[in-house]
């Protein structure tokens, strides 16, 4: 009675998946690399080098302080990815916990939670995060906290509706009949079955976090200097649009690259049998 441990199936690769994977890997690679090394310093300013157009030396050109834009984009991507990941992990985790408990058990707490998530549902995330920031102050840490708070309700919604759906499934009723404990039912019996739906919303959430973070940094209420941010770079670049359009193009394209890559990746994963 030897049992072989089954390895997970390598998914069928399709074009979306490959394209997405490449794009995301490039972005991740540059971001991680940027933590230790960038081609040029991102802080040293040089009047002489100002506003150089893209060239072999500076693939994205230089900015108004003579800094290499490519290096700054690397650092910016790192910040954005870091913040977005943390936001998604925190809000996703909270979403699972709250959604599972309220969805399965119902009751008054469920009513309250439902009202809150409904009320919060329509608000653009930036707006809500703005409010939280206005009370807490800016900075990287507060940004993460505020975005995590803002994103949690949508995760709760999704997890909760899945738990409600599965709560009355035959096999869960059977688990109750067998006498399986409630915690085990929630997290061992039900949770693995919502995984694919949940994962989709995680991916969407990640993209939204990236857009939210860069949006807020653009507005000036996101990360503070010396933290680099793609959004902040864009707002700086806007003033020089006539003279140095590449300054704005680079961070913007970086954001698009990141979000698109991730979207394609998740689309590719979704299409797998």
């Amino acid at each position: 009675m030897m049992r072989k441990v089954k390895l997970p199936n390598i998914q069928k690769w399709n074009k979306y998946f490959t394209a997405g994977l490449i794009m995301t890997s490039v972005a991740l690679f540059l971001a991680i690399l940027g933590l230790f090394w960038t081609p040029y310093s991102t802080t040293a300013m040089s009047a002489a080098e100002r506003f150089q157009a893209p060239s072999l030396m500076h693939p994205f050109g230089t900015d108004n302080f003579g800094r290499d834009i490519f290096s700054r984009v690397m650092k910016g991507m790192g910040t954005t990815i870091f913040i977005s990941t943390l936001v998604v992990v925190c809000s996703g985790g909270a979403g699972i916990l709250i959604g599972a408990l309220t969805g399965y058990f119902g009751g008054i707490i469920d009513e309250v939670v439902m009202r809150i998530t409904d009320a919060v549902n329509g608000f653009p995330s930036i707006l809500l995060a703005l409010v939280v920031i206005s009370l807490m102050g800016s900075g990287r840490q507060n940004l993460i906290i505020s975005l995590a708070i803002v994103f949690t309700p949508s995760f709760v919604r999704i997890v909760r509706s899945e738990f409600i759906r599965l709560r009355d499934a035959d096999y869960i009723m059977r688990a109750r009949l067998m006498g399986v404990g409630r915690v085990r039912i929630l997290f061992v019996h039900i949770l693995p079955n919502i995984f694919s739906t949940f994962w989709v919303s995680v991916m969407i959430g990640f993209n939204n976090a990236i857009l939210a973070e860069s949006g807020m940094s653009y507005l000036g209420i996101g990360v503070l200097p010396p933290d680099a941010s793609l959004g902040k770079m864009l707002s700086d670049a806007q003033g020089y649009l006539m003279t140095a359009p590449w300054y704005a193009l680079a961070p913007g394209l970086a954001i698009v690259w990141l979000v698109l890559g991730f979207s394609l990746l998740s689309e590719g994963m979704r299409r797998n049998p």
Partner: protein, 319 residues
């Protein structure tokens, strides 16, 4: 009718909760505001006088109801920062009233753009039999959704403003001076707001249509001898549009609530910019009212969409 009533109660309840939350957040928590209004040189008597004027010495619950009463009567409070003239601070109502038309007209143009473009696009995409076109549309819409609105705004500014010189960036035309010019200027920020939403709506509609096309009643329609065209427009589209209406409702709520970022990019004096500036200057009366406004708009739009959906869908309206 019972449902309508229930929903109305929920609406009021939510509004109540939010108003309490806003009140606590912006009138209780910040603490003593007189110092920030008068500055550090004010005398204690002057401070006390102001406290009395503003009613800050009353217990919180009384303050809350006073405030709600004021708001309902139209007195939205007075800004801490903006002054109307030498003697008075600017009433919030005036402040907002000035800027609201900008945001609302921006929203209107954007919504029109979305509805007019996304629906035909979605239907066209759903009908297409070519895999290549499908994939192309898919990637294009993904890309459109991946572009942050401020970047899109910058691109629009660059392309249409600087390269094609269709408008002059930063050259906002007030609705008081020249209404057509006002609308013309608003077209470009509206475009920046609309493009990602057009992509989302087209995708959503297409998916909805594809799902409907797999339904059993479509097979029945074909068995009656209906042509492709008749099936699509007579049966599928109507059923597919229903969830799209809810979806559009979400989008409209978002846009009307204030396209903060786009207003910033184009320098539009709308609600969004006001919100940001009042947050940075900690002008709480303004922030508070704006939050209330936005909440109300969002909830109200959702409420309308919900009612509309129930009226249109016979499964629910005719029990």
């Amino acid at each position: 009718m019972k449902y309508l009533f229930k929903k109305l109660i929920t609406l009021i309840m939510t509004l109540f909760l939010v108003s309490v939350a806003a009140f606590v957040a912006f009138q209780i928590i910040p603490g003593d505001v007189v110092t920030s209004i008068l500055g550090t040189e004010a005398t204690p008597e002057r401070e006390e006088q102001l406290r009395e004027e503003l009613g800050l010495n009353d217990p919180p619950v009384k303050r809350y109801f006073n405030w709600v009463g004021d708001v309902i009567r139209g007195d939205l409070g007075v800004s801490y920062r903006y002054s109307k003239n030498m003697n008075e601070m600017m009433p919030v109502a005036e402040l907002i009233g000035d800027k609201l038309p900008v945001t609302l007209w921006l929203a209107a143009i954007a919504v029109i753009l979305i509805v007019v473009t996304a629906i035909p696009l979605g239907v066209f995409w759903a009908k297409s039999k070519s895999h290549a076109l499908d994939a192309c549309m898919g990637v294009l819409t993904q890309a459109a959704m991946a572009v942050p609105s401020f970047f899109l705004g910058i691109i629009v500014t660059y392309l249409f403003g600087i390269v094609f010189k269709l408008f002059s960036p930063g050259g906002y035309v007030s609705y008081r001076d020249n209404f057509p010019g006002f609308l013309g200027y608003l077209f470009f920020p509206a475009l920046s707001v609309a493009i990602p939403k057009i992509a989302m709506t087209a995708r959503f509609l297409r998916n909805s249509m594809l799902t409907e096309m797999k339904a059993d009643y479509v097979r029945t329609a074909y068995s009656k001898g209906c042509s492709d065209r008749r099936v699509m427009y007579g049966h599928v589209l109507r059923n597919a549009m229903m969830p799209v209406i809810t979806f559009l409702g979400m989008i409209i709520a978002e846009i009307v609530a204030g396209s903060i970022v786009v207003e910033q990019v184009f320098g539009l004096p709308g609600i969004g910019r006001l919100l940001i500036s009042s947050i940075s200057t900690r002008d709480f009366p303004v922030v508070e009212i704006l939050i209330l406004y936005i909440t109300f708009v969002v909830i109200f739009v959702y409420f309308l969409v919900d009612i509309l959906y129930r009226v249109i869908d016979p499964r629910i309206s005719n029990r």
